[in-house]
Structures are given as C-alpha cells and as structure tokens.
Amino acid sequence: MQSAEQNIEGLNLNDAALGESEDSGQYLTFALGGEDYAIDILRVMEIKGWGLVRPLPNTPEYVKGVMDLRGQVVAVVDLRARFFMERIDYTPTTVTVILSVESQGSSSVIGVVVDSVSDVLEVAQKKIQSAPNLGLHINVCYMSGMVIHNGKMIVLLDIDKFLNPEEMGVGINMQGDTV
C-alpha cells in the first residue's frame, strides 16, 4: 500500500541533481547483489567492517540494530533488505558505511550494510542521466540519477530521501504506542 503511494511520487522524476552547478563530484561506489550503486562521497564519514550490532525490537526488518560509534549510538540498515533484495550471509567483504544524512535541517548519522565497497569515482555532472521510469515496481525517487562507467550502469542514490529518520520509521509506529 505504502509503496504504491511512493511510486506515484516517483513518476514525477526528480532531476534536481542535474541542475547542480558543480562540474563534477566524487562518488563512493559499492556493490549490492551484482549491481553497482554510488553515494556522494562527502556524505561518507567512514567505512567499518561488519561488527557488533544490537538488534532493536519491533523495528522493520532492514533495521539491523544499533552500534557504538565512539560513544554515539548509530542505527544500522541492511541495504539489501531495504531494497527487498535476496538476503545473503555476511562475508569478510561485507562492510558498514557510516553516512551523514540530512533531513529537515538537522543531520544524523546512520550506518548502511553493503556487500562490498568498490571504488571512488569522479563523475562529471553532465554525464549524469536522470533515472528512467522503471515501471511501478521500482521506486526511482530515491535515485538522484545514473551514470555509465566502463560500460556498466551505476545508480546514484539520494541518501537523504530514503535513510532519514522519518522514512525509517515507516512500519514502526503501526505496532507500538504513539507516544
């Protein structure tokens, strides 16, 4: 029900990224089930191995739990689960990318679990294409665009849109009390 709603939003293609005046930017690319994704490198705080994570009760399945980041308690999200991809066992290359997410003027820290990080990519702004309409099953509003690199397609993710605390709350308040 909720994803259908988002898809309607997704039809209004978000091409804000195209309008940016920066000539080029650096992106951290990572792999997720054989596909390549990229995040603006300025948002990446650090990359850690998969480690001690304490599950949070009654949260969506993709919220793996919370971990300690030098005294801060940081939620960790499994990106595969977030994108409803097939689940795999964590391997030594499985890493947690610590990101700084901005929403409503405040920034928070969040960790995402990905299969492996690959590279830092310099992407010219004019090379970024807007995300095509991928039909009702794929929500493109979380993508800020896509780019072709060495013949492979890399999806640029808009982390502020899908990792902000409000978005993560979907599904939680349906179970608990509303206080």
Partner: protein
C-alpha cells in the same frame, strides 16, 4: 556606533534577569522597621547596572523605567525617604514589570505598554506625592496624548543638550555627538554660551557650552537616543518630537522622553508584523571557577598517568606487571574522578528554584489573608540542570497547594491551638543516590474521609476494598480530582497533581505524601542524582542484554508453578504475597527468538513498577548491576517503543535501556494482537 553589540545582548539579558532576582530577593528581605543600608545598596546597584546595560543596547524604554526606580531607591539610600512596606510592594511590582519588558525585548515580542506606563505612574506618584511638579502633569498628558502621537510620525526632533561641565573628563566629546547627529538628517544647531565665565575664571578642562538642536529626520527616537547613550549620565538632555503641525514643540515636558520610545518601537514592530522569536535554543550554564580548576587538575593527573603507562608499554617486561596493574588502577581512579567532576558541571544549587518561593509566598499569603513563615533548608544542594528547569512548575504548584489548602486561616489556627503563623518548609537533601525535596506544612492535613467520599463520588473507587492511607493519598494524583470546596484562582482546578506527578516521573523520580489530620502534610519528591547516568540492572534474554533501571525494580524472584495461574490458557498471572500480577515475557514483547528459558521455572521474574502498575518481567537471567551512561536513540534514529535509550557496555556493544511504563503498554498491545490473531 559601529561596534556590533548584538553579540553581547544575550549576556546582557542573562545578567539583567540575575539582577532582577537579586533585587527581588533583597526587596523581600527588606524590613521597613530595621533598614539595612547594604541591602538597599545591593538593590540600587542591580537597578543601576540594568539601566546602564539597557541604555547601551538601545532598550531605552527599559532604561527610562529603571531610571525612575533608581531615583526612588537613591532617595531611600540617602535616607531622604523612609522605606515603607507600601513602597517595597511598589518596587516589587516594578521588578515584575521590568522583567516583563526585558523578556519581551529578549523574545522580540510586544510589551504591555499600558501596564508599563501605569506602573511608572505609580512610581512617580511615590516620588512626587503632591503631584505639584511637571513630571506628574506631564505623565497625564502622556497617557492622554501618547496614542494619537504614535499615529503621527514625527518629522524631526528638538533636542536641548546641556552637558555637565565635567563631561570632557569622562572622555566624551560633545562635538562627536553633534557630528553624529548631523549624519541623521538636516540639522540646525544653536549654541548657548551664557554660562561661559570670564577668561580669568575659565577652566580649559570644563565644558561651559550648551546646544539647542533642531534635527529634521525620519529616524526614530531610539536612534537619536543611541547617540546620547554614553553621555546620558553626564548631561541634561531634553528631547521632544516635532510633529508636522509643530504642536508638540511647545510641550516642555521631559516626560515625553519616557513613553515616546515605547510607542516608536511598537509602531515599527507592528508594521513588520513580526512573529515573536522563539526562546533561544541553546542555553548556557554558569560554572563555578573552582569546578573548572578541579577539572583541569584532574586532566593533568590523567595526562601524567597516560605518559607513565605509555613509557611502561615501550619497555615492558614481565617483572613490571605489578607496575602496570598499579598504573591501570590509577587510570581507572582518575577516569572515575574526571567523570564525576564533569557531571558536577551540570549541577546547580537548588536555590535557583527555591529563590522564587519567598516572593510567591509573600504575594499569595497577602492575597489569601494567611500568615505564613516560609523556611528554606538545604538550598545549596546541587541537582542536575534539567531537574532545575523541570521541577520549578511542579514545586510552585505544590507550594500553592500547601498555602491554599494546607494552611488554615489565622483564626482557625488559633482555634485549633496552633500558632497564628503557619509554617511551610522547603527542604532539599541527599539520601542514598537520590535528591529528596520536601514540602512540609503544619496545616490541617489531608482528610482521609473527605478523600474517600470524593473518590466514591467520582467513581474512582468502588468502596468495597479497604484502602491503606497511602492508597487514599494516591487518589490526589488522579486527573480531575480536587477536594477544594470551591475553585479559587490559586489552586483547586484539579488539573494539577496528575501533571505534577507526570513531570516528576519524566525526571525519573517519585512523589509520596505523608499526612496527619490536623498536624500537616509533607510531600516528598525523590529524584535521581543525575539524568545522564543511571543505576541499572543488566538482564539477559537469549543473546541480548537489556538494562532495567534499578529504580523501577521492586524485587526479583523465581516463581514456582503453583504460584502461576492462567486466564483462558494464555494471560499469565502469578501470586506475589496477596497480589496477582501479570507476567510479561520480554522475548514475546520484543520478538526475540530462541530465548534460553522456555518455562517460567528456568528464568527469573523481575517485578517492575511503572506508573503505579506492577508486573513481572520474565527474563532468562540477571547479569549484574552497574552504572550506565545514557545515550539517546533519537539523536540518530528515533524513538523505539519500550526503550528509553541505549548505553555502551564494557565490551563495546550497545545495550538497550528499558522504558518500563512504555514497555508495559507495548505488552498490553501485544497481548491484544495475539488474542486477535489466535
């Protein structure tokens, strides 16, 4: 004036509010029969710094108002005017008005101009009781004329500037002021040299000149005043506005100076239609310098220990093991001390809260016609800053209750053989790991029979059970419960006590009542020492570790099968002494699989209490007690039901801290869902 003063503005407000508190406290301490000069001096000094500061920052309305207060205080100080209870009351009211004006300026909202003008009038009446001179007459004129004047924008200002002879010695140059005025608009200056002495008597270091200035400008009064801000005390200054029809020029009343700026500012604000600024987000804290020194010492020690340990590490051999152990225990000691000292910084004496009560009691007792002796003990007890902020309103409510409902009228007191003067005492002290705040009165006490009758009427109890005294007193905390025969504006609307309890619970504290009919009531509030650290019991469920706040644990037991009874095969309860309590299985509520204890006998029941409900929390095992530092989940994620926060354990993993009341609500819902799905 090109210096950006706005950066100091917040400091000015903070200092001014402190000054007001000093004035208030000293005024209350002022005994008309035995006047302490030092006390008046203190009040005068506080008023003077507020006046000076507000002049500098361009709050001329505040400065003018304070000036009148200061004049009155000055006369009292010089012994020209007797200190009377009446004038002290007027000064107290003026402090309120002043506080309101400053708060309005701070929040950039409207100030009640009429109230300010009225209070100022009262003050001036005290100064000139006969109303013979121009200031009273002028005030009348102002009250009548001020509103129309504000509609009509002045086209300029007529200024008579007569510096005192010694103005040059204070480093002020009248020429600079004139030059600045010239920048404001078209200006016509006439010099008055009538005071100029013969050359033989002429002192080149004195200023003998005066100026009569006509300034045609659109600028408002505040901007004109700003130019004179530095010389205010060193000159005679008369400013009045020139209106288009020149009617105002004839009004030779310096009093216009007083109200006009207020009007100007208001008009300007109205036009902008500005929303009141929200209270500034970041709050600052004043820390005793000795606490900082202590911290620096502690860090010094820590650095020494660290360098000793690193040296040891470089050349480590097995023989030095003992040395290493010593070093480590030293490190531990220093870290703990450092932690305690850092916590100390957040601690403020409770007097910040207690200080407002003498005033409250003074006003209320006068209003209610009761005689009260307020005794305050332990006001130096330190509590967390958050507690200071949140406990104020509940305490005010409780003290009002004591005054209104507790203490009887003087005649009734005499009739029941008590002293005419009722005693309310406020006590603060440490007990165990808690701060205890007590509000005690020697009034009529709580009447058990009345409470029970009322509760029956409201249907809160059904009359079949025998209630203990404590349970009866608990009824007061029910929403909508009030025993006051009639509602007064002091208390008795029945909206209070449940809110009081809620606030205190939010701080992790508890509230209890002791009372004896005819002897008085004591309300006892217990609060944790600090909010950043919590005493917790670590419990285990499957592989997960949770922290249960020690304060909510009643006891921990192992249940036997015969104690447990089930309702329709599911809802589990057990009998603890003569009470049936529900069993909440933590692994069910939190959806944890593979918990180790399958049957109730294998695990442990932790009896927890939250919002006066109790339940048995079923866990696999108890691990131990420890102090934990509370970390917020909301900071980077969001609120999770049943969890109040998180902490980091010794092994670097995160442990979640249970929020017992929220967890119990969650358990109720789980139960409901299970029943629906079953």
């Amino acid at each position: 004036m090109s210096i950006d003063l706005s950066q100091f503005q917040q400091v000015f407000f903070e200092e001014s509010f402190e000054g007001l508190e000093i004035m208030e406290t000293s005024l209350l301490g002022l005994d008309p029969n035995d006047v302490d000069d030092e006390e008046i001096n203190t009040i005068f000094r506080a008023a003077h710094s507020i006046k000076g500061g507000s002049g500098t920052f361009g709050f001329s309305a505040v400065a003018d108002f304070t000036h009148v207060m200061e004049t009155l205080l000055n006369e009292m100080r010089d012994g020209r005017r007797a200190v009377t209870a009446e004038s002290v009351d007027i000064l107290l009211q003026s402090v309120d008005v002043l506080r309101d004006m400053l708060a309005a300026a701070d929040e950039e909202r409207e100030v009640d101009v009429a109230r300010v003008a009225a209070q100022k009038q009262v003050l001036e009446n005290v100064l000139n009781p006969d109303g013979e001179d121009e200031s009273t007459a002028g005030e009348d004129k102002v009250e009548n004329n001020a509103p129309p004047e504000s509609d009509e924008k002045p086209i300029g200002w007529h200024i008579i500037f007569r510096p005192l002879p010694q103005i040059l010695k204070t480093g002020n140059d009248p020429m600079r002021i004139l030059r600045e005025l010239m920048e404001l608009g078209e200006i016509h200056i006439e010099v008055d040299d009538s005071d100029l002495p013969d050359l033989s008597n002429f002192d080149p270091e004195l200023c003998y000149l005066a100026w009569d200035i006509t300034l045609m400008t659109e600028k408002n009064r505040a901007e004109v005043d700003e130019i004179f801000a530095w010389v205010e005390d060193d000159c005679e200054l008369i400013v009045h506005e020139i209106l288009a029809d020149k009617s105002a020029v004839d009004q030779q009343t310096p009093v216009l100076k007083v109200v006009a700026p207020v009007e100007d500012r208001r008009v300007k604000k109205d036009r902008r239609d500005k929303e009141p600024k929200k209270a500034s987000g970041s709050s600052s804290i004043r820390v005793d310098i000795t606490k900082i020194d202590e911290l620096i010492n502690m860090v010094g020690e820590l650095v020494i220990t660290q360098s000793m340990l690193s040296l040891l590490g470089e050349t480590f051999e097995m023989e030095k093991l003992e040395q290493l152990n010593d070093g480590l225990s030293q490190l531990e000691r220093h870290t703990r001390n450092l932690q305690e000292s850092v916590m100390q910084i957040r601690m403020l004496p409770i007097s910040f809260t207690f200080n407002r009560f003498p005033r409250l009691v003074h006003d209320l007792s006068a209003k209610l016609g009761k005689k009260i002796d307020l005794q305050v003990h332990g006001e130096t007890t330190e509590v967390d800053k958050t507690v200071i902020e949140k406990i104020g309103d509940p305490l005010v409510h409780l003290v009002r209750n004591s005054l209104d409902h507790g203490i009887e009228m003087p005649a009734d007191r005499l009739a029941s053989g008590k002293s005419e003067v009722g005693v309310i005492s406020l006590n603060a002290f440490h007990q165990g790991g808690n701060i205890v705040l007590e509000i005690r009165d020697d009034g009529k006490g709580l009447d058990r029979a009345v409470l029970v009758k009322k509760a029956l009427e409201k249907g809160l109890i059904d009359g079949s059970q025998e209630l203990t005294d404590r349970q009866v007193y608990e009824l007061i905390f029910h929403p909508g419960f009030s025993t006051a025969e009639k509602v007064s504006d002091v208390s008795g609307r029945g909206v209070g006590m449940d809110v009081v309890r809620k606030n205190i619970n939010e701080l992790g504290g508890s509230i209890t009542i002791e009372s004896e009919l005819g002897q008085g009531t004591a309300i006892i509030i217990r609060l944790p020492l600090t909010l950043a650290i919590l005493d917790g019991q670590t419990v285990q469920v499957a592989d997960e570790t949770y922290i249960v706040p020690l304060g909510s644990i009643v006891e921990s037991i192992q249940v036997k099968e015969q104690q447990v009874s089930r309702v329709v095969g599911r809802g589990e309860t057990f009998k603890l002494r003569d009470e049936y309590l529900p069993i909440v299985r933590l692994h069910d509520v939190f959806g944890i699989k593979n918990s180790k204890a399958k049957t109730l006998q294998e695990g442990l029941l932790v009896i927890v209490e939250g919002e006066s409900h109790r339940c048995g929390l079923f866990v696999d095992d108890l691990l131990g007690q420890q102090q934990v530092v509370i970390k917020s989940l909301e900071e980077n994620y969001q609120r999770v039901n049943g969890i109040s926060g998180a902490t980091i354990l010794g092994d670097g993993s995160v442990a979640l801290i249970l929020d017992i009341p929220s967890m119990m609500r969650l358990a109720d819902k789980c139960d409901l869902e299970n029943r629906v799905s079953a």
